[in-house]
Symmetry: C2
Subunit: 532 residues, 2 copies
């Protein structure tokens, strides 16, 4: 490659009628190119094709190419792989060479480092290494089983959100994972969205059930189960609802693209007068969630109507109200936002939160969607102050989106090193020798009494090996227990990424850790001690 | 009826050949009896039938009857109902008269009272009245939707058990609600148990999924996901797992017989040496659960092998060990138990907890089952101290059984009047007039800061009406706020079933309620004050 670059070979574009190009490649023994030209003629109806010539080498290519090979600056050959022609194992195998190039060495290095960093953070690898989740072929692709350590992260996230939502006047519900097909006919998901659903289960003559792909129709049944007046609204129904969608097996990936996932879902039923305030508190919640987990670099995308389309449901004045409310909210909260006309759902405008993780990749997380369609389809009503029935507005919102995907992103964002409140094991107690084993058990008991998740390393290994093991486990704190600690009833504290932070009275350090845990990391126990 | 009893008419039994009996009833114009005799001959092959004669009245009946009508003591006619002959609406309607009789008036009265009491406690009626759950025809029969107030009870029960289980070294997992059919072929549930399953969903060529009827195969996949040694055991995997079983629609009833329910499930994988201790702690847990919710009147049924059958899986020595361990445990815990040979599952012996509610009805709740079958079918292993592979034993256990059914039973046991820790609304704050509204809001805030679930009654109703409303809601405490309470910053406390218990400083009463709540009712805030 370096030699070719130095030779500055000019690259020349030729355009030939398809028949002539075929003859040329046939002469060169390039039978695959001949096949490709045949396909282009047959499938795309082309009559001529473009070729690029570079010294003796001639290639079939749409282009564009550089004017000469000397223009190649910083490049790196990444890998080679064998690939069957047209992906069919009955065909011969060719060799693919992967490479990348940038304008300068700095950009190239940054790119390579980002790839390396992303590999180290791959949640599929870390998830296995840290024992967080399992995708089992026996259960099925895209159906994660959460292992004990991963389940702790789920429970912590759920408890935290649940407490927040109770404070904000949400009410939790729990609904079945299946429902009659007719329910989804009314909602419009069936048969319209059928390709994304697991097939229906027919249990009685003419009575079939679907695995729920979303929770809204169930929550609507709860709305319908009692008469509603403007005084009962807003009604905010929340559920950690596990839903199932039949993604194509080729598109499944770790926790990011799955077939079963748990939404931190809620549906708000409100009057038009309440819409502004409700959208604002949803946006505030999404903001709070991102900032708590340290995904501070986010922006907001507002999906609006396409002014030239008639595909939208709901009246013009309703849309004006909702779009205006959304704009007011993002401005008031000083969110960095873009407006994207034509990106609204057909049933109402929406806000999406897009966040950058610490290596610069963008992820779409929380969403807030205004819905004029389902209240109409299910004929929802409330009695207004005028004693007449009115149609409520529905808001669908999920600040995490999917609990599974969110944790997948967090694994990558934290590179598996979860903050104290989320860490599956919060403290590892490491006795230096058998002599400190008894005191280590006492320390363990104190930690567990303070509801800190702690483990004692009772292995016969040397302390260096123990520290290495728990470093691999990415545990936030290690307490090293030697002879001096036993005598003084202290612990020597080692903090992840920082190292030794000093020796403390056990009760004192437990209090500090409780503060760090309960503040979800906003107050770090040893930030000062470590100069951080 | 009274007249017939006083007449002491003798009742005489006749046995006639079927043909003669038919002639007799034909003469009497009793065409239904003729039809019934025809059926008896055809379906049961009888050649003669028994008749009972009492004065002029003659009846077809298997018997037995009293010798004469004077023997009838305490009776009550309960109700009448129209019923189509053979339940077919195309047939004529007959009238059914329901009655009951006892040996004396006291037994009769007790029975009638028990029926009345059971009606008042019907969880289907109370569940609707108190807004706990909903069975929606649109979603499907047997698929309860938990409303906000019922969901609070679920959350409280789950949080309590989860905390207990974490203390006892259980690890929580979360697994999908579906799995490949092959998983259930390996477990033996399919096709053997197919009639109890929702039909399979075929998603890809030859790849079908089932809604899970139990969590064990998923937990087994987790066991299999890592190498296990005797040092890792016992492994205790817990999950509040929602499972689906296709009960016949005619057998569905409220929360007691459903098609979807959440088990407080766990599977313990242990060595034979650990079995005794594990069974003991499972039994202790089931006992603790029942005693906490006040179902103190329980007994235990041990299901053992039928010594004459060969249907059982696992070796004789394994069975001896498990049966012996179970007996040791129930004796040690001094449980009231019966042994029932032949009542074991084919895969191992079991313990069932059977409890009486406060009106004397028996319910089967917690269960502990030893299983030698699934470890065999899934080829589970652990490395023993001898460095050789061994087969672990599995224990299935669920102290509540089903969360849904358990709450159904609790609703009936408590007649909807849940103890403080479970009550959906714990305190109702009732301002006497508009003048105390502001202070009522302050009281509400203090209660909510103490994480007590409280509501203010802001209606314009008189205080008597407010008290009646919240009595109907069965709220454990009401705080009445009048002029005096506003001035003194106190609250006048009214306790459910007891009435006024006195006037207290707000902070003082909140502390008392927190103690009652956190002790799950074992320390009642106003037991003394009310002389209880």
């Amino acid at each position: 490659m370096q030699k070719i670059v130095e030779e500055k070979i000019p690259i020349e574009r030729l355009e030939l009628p398809a028949e002539q190009a075929k003859e040329k490649f046939t002469r060169l023994g390039q039978k695959y190119k001949v096949e490709m030209i045949d396909d282009l003629v047959k499938n795309e109806g082309v009559s001529s094709v473009s070729l690029y010539k570079q010294g003796d080498f001639i290639d079939l290519c749409r282009g564009p190419h550089l004017p000469d090979t000397g223009k190649v600056r910083a490049f790196r050959l990444l890998t080679t792989a064998g690939a069957y022609w047209r992906g069919d194992e009955n065909n011969p195998m060719l060799t693919r060479i992967y490479g990348t190039a940038f304008f300068d060495e700095k950009q190239l290095t940054e790119h390579i480092e980002r790839i390396e960093e992303a590999k180290k953070r791959d949640h599929r690898i870390l998830g296995k290494q840290l024992g967080l989740f399992l995708i089992s072929n026996a259960v099925g692709p895209g159906l994660p089983l959460w292992l004990p350590k991963g389940t702790i992260i789920r429970i912590e996230l759920q408890n935290w959100l649940q407490e927040e939502l109770f404070k904000q006047g949400y009410q939790f519900v729990f609904t079945p994972h299946i429902g009659k097909v007719d329910l989804y006919r009314t909602s419009g998901h069936y048969p319209y969205y059928e390709h994304g659903l697991f097939p229906a289960m027919e249990v009685e003559q003419g009575q079939a059930y679907l695995l729920k792909p979303m929770n809204c129709p169930h929550h609507i049944q709860i709305y319908l189960s009692a008469p509603r007046t403007y005084r009962n609204l807003p009604l905010r129904l929340a559920e950690f609802g596990t839903v199932y969608r039949l993604e194509q097996s080729g598109e499944l990936s770790g926790l990011i693209r799955v077939r079963g996932f748990t939404q931190d879902d809620a549906h708000i039923f409100c009057t038009p007068e309440q819409l502004l305030e409700e959208v604002e508190s949803c946006a505030n919640l999404a903001k709070m969630v991102l900032e708590t987990v340290g995904l501070n670099d986010y922006r907001v995308r507002i999906g609006l109507r396409d002014p030239d389309s008639s595909k939208y449901t709901g009246s013009t004045e309703n849309w004006d109200l909702a779009e205006d409310n959304i704009r007011q909210v993002v401005r008031k909260l000083q969110l960095d936002y873009t407006e994207e006309p034509g990106e609204a759902a057909f049933y109402g405008p929406k806000i999406d939160f897009i966040t950058k993780d610490c290596i610069g990749r963008e992820w779409q997380l929380g969403t807030i969607q205004v819905d004029y369609n389902l209240p109409e389809r299910f004929n929802l009503e409330y009695i207004g102050p005028d004693n007449a029935p009115h149609r409520p507005i529905m808001i669908h919102r999920a600040p995490l989106g999917s609990l599974d995907r969110f944790i997948g992103i967090l694994i990558e964002h934290y590179a598996g090193a979860f903050p104290l409140w989320l860490a599956p094991v919060q403290v590892a107690v490491l006795p230096v020798s058998e002599k400190s084993a008894e005191y280590a058990q006492k320390v363990l008991k104190h930690l567990r009494d303070a509801k800190l998740r702690a483990e004692v390393d009772t292995s016969p290994d040397k302390i260096g090996a123990k520290i290495r093991r728990w470093t691999m486990e990415k545990v936030p704190y290690m307490f090293i227990i030697g002879r001096r600690e036993v005598v003084n009833e202290t612990v020597s504290v080692r903090k992840r990424k920082i190292g030794q932070v000093g020796t403390f009275q056990l009760t004192e350090v437990i209090e500090l850790l409780k503060i760090e845990r309960d503040s979800r990391g906003s107050k770090e126990a040893f930030a000062d001690a470590a100069g951080g």
